[in-house]
C-alpha cells in the first residue's frame, strides 16, 4: 500500500502560522478602530457617521493593509493545500499566543482552558496529517 502523503509540508505550515499572526494584528487594529469611533451602538440611523469616522482612523487602514498581505499569502497556500485543511489551522494562533503568555510570562490558566488548548492542538495535528487530496 502506498503511504498517504500528509496534507501539509513544513513550509506551508510556517506560512499559515505567519498569516495567523498577521491576522491577530489586523483584528486588534479593527477592534481599536471601531472603539475609537466612540459609537457603541451602530444603527441604520448612525451608520453613515460610524462609517465616515471609521474611514478616518489610521488603525483601520493598518488593518486593511495587513489583510491585503494576508490575501496574497493565503492564495499561495490555497494553491497547494485543501481549504478544509488550511482553514482549521488558520486560527490556531489565538490559542498559541495565550499558551506562550503562560509559559513565558507565568500567567495563570484554568484547567478547562488547558483542556481546550490541548483539544485545538490535537485537532490541528489531526487535520494536518489527514491524507492529501489533490483534485487539481
Amino acid at each position: 500500500m502506498k503511504p498517504a502523503t500528509p496534507a501539509l509540508n513544513v513550509q506551508q505550515f510556517g506560512l499559515i502560522l505567519f498569516i495567523d499572526l498577521l491576522e491577530s494584528v489586523a483584528e486588534v487594529c479593527f477592534k481599536s478602530a471601531t472603539t475609537a469611533t466612540g459609537i457603541t451602538n451602530v444603527t441604520l440611523a448612525n451608520f453613515n457617521t460610524f462609517a465616515l469616522r471609521l474611514l478616518g482612523i489610521p488603525m483601520l487602514w493598518i488593518g486593511v493593509v495587513c489583510f491585503l498581505v494576508i490575501l496574497c499569502l493565503w492564495l499561495t497556500v490555497l494553491a497547494k493545500v485543501d481549504l478544509s485543511v488550511a482553514f482549521p489551522l488558520g486560527n490556531a494562533v489565538y490559542l498559541i499566543i495565550p499558551l506562550l503568555a503562560i509559559v513565558v510570562l507565568h500567567e495563570h490558566m484554568s484547567a478547562l482552558r488547558w483542556i481546550g488548548t490541548v483539544f485545538v492542538l490535537i485537532g490541528g495535528y489531526c487535520v494536518s496529517i489527514s491524507a492529501q487530496h489533490s483534485s487539481g
Partner: protein
C-alpha cells in the same frame, strides 16, 4: 443587542466561507505551479490576481467584513471570537459540498476537536 450581533456574525461567517470557496476555486487552477522562490510567488500572484473568482471572493469577503466590524462595535472581541468557532464547521461543509474535497475521519475529527477546544477556552 446580543441577537443582532449574533446574526451579524453568522452573516459574516457565511460570506467569508463563500469568499474562501471562490479563492480556493481560483487558486486550484494553479495547483501545479512551482512555489519555492520569491520569484515563483510573484509569478503566481500576477497570474491569479486577474481571475474574476478572486475579485468575487474579495467583494463577498468585504461585505462580510463590514458585518463583522458592526458586530465588533456591539460586543467584545473576546465574545465574538468564540461565536466564530462555528465558522470551522461551515467551512468544512462547504469544502465537502462545493469543492468536493475528500473528508477522511482524521480531518473531520480534527476540525471537531478544534471547535470544541475553542468553545472550552471561550467559556472557561
Amino acid at each position: 443587542m446580543r441577537l443582532k450581533a449574533f446574526l451579524l456574525i453568522v452573516f459574516y461567517e457565511v460570506c467569508s466561507t463563500l469568499g474562501q470557496v471562490a479563492f480556493k476555486k481560483s487558486a486550484r487552477k494553479f495547483s501545479a505551479a512551482p512555489l519555492g522562490t520569491a520569484r515563483d510567488y510573484l509569478a503566481f500572484l500576477r497570474r491569479i490576481i486577474v481571475m474574476p473568482g478572486i475579485w468575487w471572493g474579495i467583494i463577498i469577503t468585504a461585505v462580510g467584513t463590514v458585518s463583522w466590524l458592526v458586530a465588533l462595535a456591539h460586543v467584545d472581541l473576546s465574545l465574538a471570537m468564540p461565536l466564530n468557532s462555528a465558522h470551522y464547521l461551515i467551512v468544512l461543509l462547504a469544502s465537502y459540498v462545493l469543492l468536493r474535497e475528500r473528508m477522511d475521519r482524521m480531518r473531520v475529527m480534527g476540525t471537531v476537536l478544534v471547535v470544541a477546544g475553542i468553545a472550552l477556552v471561550a467559556f472557561s
